[in-house]
């Protein structure tokens, strides 16, 4: 029989109330937000019923437009309309120009990082991404009558390095979203299909989107999704299939030179024709322009013939990825299809033939990543206390330090399960050397120039000693999101110097604060209100988490300790109601944090002991 719960005054009456958590697929072409409701994951739509938000941001002098409307403005206002900014995250101008050639943007530097000049000023890829995230956050809040979002799982490509992951997280922070976890896109897709609790083995995730193609080979072993290999083509997607049909239309109508508006018409018709061909064997396309009227018949057979070379191109990437993973095609247990372009029958049949396996297609390929992220968000926010889902990720690329001669010394090799902390000792090179500069790199190659530079910093104040006498301990820490922090310390003389760095591409906390301020300069009151709101949500989170812990583990504290902690919690609850500034709440949260530190440590120890209870040494 269920017992009624009676809460103490000032305490939350329903600690197990359903919390709103979302999964966000921040895509190159389109972005989506999803959540779990009544045990089922579903994507959230805008007022017009669209789930997909085009990842386009248009900056105007006094306003910002995101989504469909911005995408429509792209041709008229290319310089101020930022498309596919995901490709720019964590990159330098040189890298972008190298990969994408001529772009309609004017790049500049802002606060030491890359930005694009617009009529609204210098906009960084992080800021533009945060606008997309804000729009999705708003959509989620509107869908649930203004209920606050307690956290989000945001997906990133498996090959994203530290700088790109850090930028994604910064964008979320800027949008006022608490990131529960950054999750690899292919892992999210596998989770949506429930593969995390099924058989163990190799999973291939084939992701053909609007403008990019990714293939990931994962190994699922004891709940750990290990990324064995990734590959693909950053400029191959559904758009390329459309232009094949545009060329076909031109040939059939005998029109070779198209004006911009007729070209747009052809592209739209091509897209519609391609989509219809996924259902029908024959599609009749009417093309009316410049007083002319044409009818073109396209059969699926014709389209398949046109498309085959592009599909074969993706299969070449698959072959390479399979080889890189060190496996054989037959070892692949499941193939997961992601991205709208995988609806094309020719893609499905070719992929099935290549892996000799029917691919998984039952979940909408446009939504599968967001749905998987929502499932994990639901677990992480605490809505499913009994779930034993555990997604362990590995470091996608090795981390290391520059040593003599421009070589890289690897500190943490790729595919190490994260979180992880590793330390390595270095020594001084010259007599009396008092400083040492450290260069943090990520990548698999031996030479510094071939790896990505993440950060440079120097450790000063080393006591003067003979060469080789100092012991400098450099510690790399990678958290569960794959984000790195590095510290260095001289320890031989007991004189300790320590420095913390953030990757140079990521934003410092000050920078994030500044950007927040900048975006709010016109509305100081707004910002104060928003920060107050955020602290209120944070306070609620802290109180609920602690109450849940106390409900199960209060026995770990004696009466006096319990009383003291409860008093601090009660204070925080009161301050949360009465506070008019965010600082008041922040101070009260810190007080609770301090009062609960011993409790937290005891609980962690207890849970470690409990995890292996009944499996003591004698039993083994």
């Amino acid at each position: 029989m269920a017992l009624l719960q009676i809460a103490e005054p000032g305490q939350s009456a329903a600690p197990h109330e359903h919390k709103l958590a979302v999964g966000i697929d921040l895509g190159t072409t389109n972005s989506l937000v999803a959540t779990v409701q009544s045990g089922e994951a579903r994507t959230l739509t805008d007022l017009a019923g669209n789930a997909m938000l085009p990842s386009v941001v248009q900056y105007q002098a006094d306003s910002i437009v995101v989504g469909e409307q911005a995408a429509a403005a792209a041709t008229q206002d290319p310089a101020n309309t930022l498309i596919s900014v995901k490709r720019f995250l964590g990159k330098t101008q040189a890298e972008i120009e190298n990969s994408y050639g001529q772009l309609p943007y004017e790049f500049c530097e802002h606060d030491g990082s890359l930005a694009i000049s617009t009529v609204a000023g210098a906009i960084s890829p992080v800021t533009a991404s945060s606008e997309i995230l804000k729009t999705l956050k708003q959509r989620a809040e509107d869908s649930f009558a203004g209920q606050d979002i307690m956290g989000a799982v945001i997906t990133v490509p498996a090959y994203f390095d530290d700088a790109q992951r850090q930028s994604t997280k910064d964008a979320a922070e800027l949008a006022g979203i608490k990131v529960l976890r950054l999750l690899n896109e292919p892992t999210a897709a596998a989770v949506a299909y429930g593969l995390d609790s099924g058989q163990e083995g190799i999973i291939a995730v084939y992701d053909l989107g609007g403008g990019t193609f990714d293939i990931s080979i994962l190994r699922l072993h004891q709940g750990v999704f290990e990324v064995l290999a990734t590959g693909g083509d950053s400029s191959l997607g559904g758009d390329d299939f459309d232009s094949l049909l545009v060329d076909y239309f031109k040939k059939q109508t005998g029109v070779s030179e198209l004006s911009a508006s007729v070209l747009r018409l052809f592209i739209n018709k091509a897209k519609a024709c391609k989509e219809a061909l996924s259902q029908y064997q024959t599609v009749n396309v009417g093309l009316e322009f410049d007083g002319q009227s044409h009818k073109v018949e396209v059969t699926r057979e014709t389209f398949d013939e046109l498309a085959l070379s592009l599909v074969k191109k993706t299969l070449r990437s698959c072959r390479r990825a399979v080889k890189d993973a060190g496996i054989e095609n037959e070892e692949v247990l499941q193939v997961v299809m992601v991205g709208g372009s995988t609806r094309m029958p020719i893609v499905r049949s070719q992929v099935a033939a290549f892996f000799d396996k029917e691919p998984l297609t039952s979940i909408d390929p446009d939504r599968v990543v967001a749905l998987g992220a929502a499932l994990q968000a639901d677990v992480l926010v605490g809505n499913k206390p009994d779930s034993d889902m555990l997604l362990l990720d590995v470091l996608p690329l090795s981390l290391g330090l520059e040593t003599m001669g421009g070589l890289v010394e690897k500190i943490i090799p790729r595919n190490t399960t994260i979180p992880v902390a590793r330390a390595q000792e270095f020594t001084t090179f010259k007599d009396g050397q008092t400083a040492m500069s450290l260069h943090v790199l990520q990548g698999e190659r031996e030479l510094v120039d071939d790896c990505r530079s993440l950060a440079k910093f120097s450790l000063k104040g080393i006591p003067a000693m003979a060469a080789g006498a100092a012991h400098i301990r450099v510690t790399f820490k990678v958290d569960a999101d794959g984000l790195l922090s590095v510290s260095a310390m001289e320890k031989s003389t007991g004189v300790q110097a320590e420095i913390q760095v953030k990757p140079s591409f990521g934003l410092s906390d000050d920078q994030v604060a500044n950007m927040l301020k900048e975006s709010m300069t016109n509305a100081k009151g707004d910002m104060q209100a928003r920060m107050l709101k955020e602290q209120q949500v944070e306070a609620l989170r802290v109180v609920e988490a602690l109450e849940a812990s106390l409900a199960t583990d209060s026995a770990l504290l004696d009466e006096q300790e319990l009383g003291a902690l409860k008093a601090e919690i009660a204070k925080l609850v009161a301050v949360r109601e009465s506070a008019t500034t965010p600082t008041e709440i922040k101070a009260a949260i810190e007080a609770v944090d301090n009062a609960s530190s011993e409790f937290a440590a005891r609980r962690m120890d207890a849970s470690i002991k409990k995890a292996l209870q009944g499996q003591s040494v004698d039993e083994v």
């Binding site: 926010v381 555990l390 190490t416 569960a480 949260i589 962690m604 409990k610 995890a611």
Partner: protein
């Protein structure tokens, strides 16, 4: 020995990998930061630290050389950062011969058979040093520990040979 206690397994150089893997997952289920995603920042920090330590413990326990070095360091003999080289002319001579043999593998009349035969030799050495290690590390005699240190140094040579062999196998297989 903290890592052994953490994984609730007996302190013994011979380990049961299946048990370790099973206990690893149960430990991560208890401490992983994802389990504390909505907790306070202090709880999360603790979780990251604990999860990192468990990951480190797993890497150490799983790898035969790392496991032996760890056990030895817990006994007070830390050879993990040493620059010292092995003083055993007989062993070094044998290693040189093995290296020469390894380099000839690619030119062997039947590379597959030659590789298999070489692999068997390495396995034999691995087995010999490992079984000696188990007894030495279980002993309470300090002299045995020094002998264990030498055995670990030898095992490192053996593992290097094995890596080289894998590399050669890969390059033969690629063509």
């Amino acid at each position: 020995m903290r890592y052994f206690e953490l994984f609730a397994i007996p302190v013994d150089y011979n380990i049961d990998l299946a048990t370790i893997n099973k206990h690893y997952l149960e430990l991560q289920r208890a401490v992983h930061p994802d389990r504390h995603a909505s907790s306070s920042s202090r709880d999360k920090l603790l979780a990251v630290q604990s999860a990192a330590e468990i990951n480190d413990a797993l890497q150490t326990l799983k790898h035969p050389v790392k496991r032996a070095e760890y056990m030895l360091s817990e006994l007070g003999v830390d050879i993990r950062a040493e620059q010292q080289t092995l003083q055993d002319p007989l062993f070094l001579m044998q290693q040189m011969e093995l290296r020469e043999e390894l380099e000839e593998l690619e030119n062997a009349a039947d590379p597959d058979a030659a590789i298999a035969q070489f692999e068997a030799q390495i396995k034999q050495l691995d087995k010999q040093y490992s079984s000696e290690l188990a007894a030495q590390l279980a002993s309470s005699d300090e002299q045995q520990w020094q002998a264990a240190a030498d055995n670990i140094r030898k095992l490192k040579f053996v593992y290097k040979l094995r890596e080289e062999l894998e590399r050669i196998e890969d390059s033969l297989f690629d063509d």
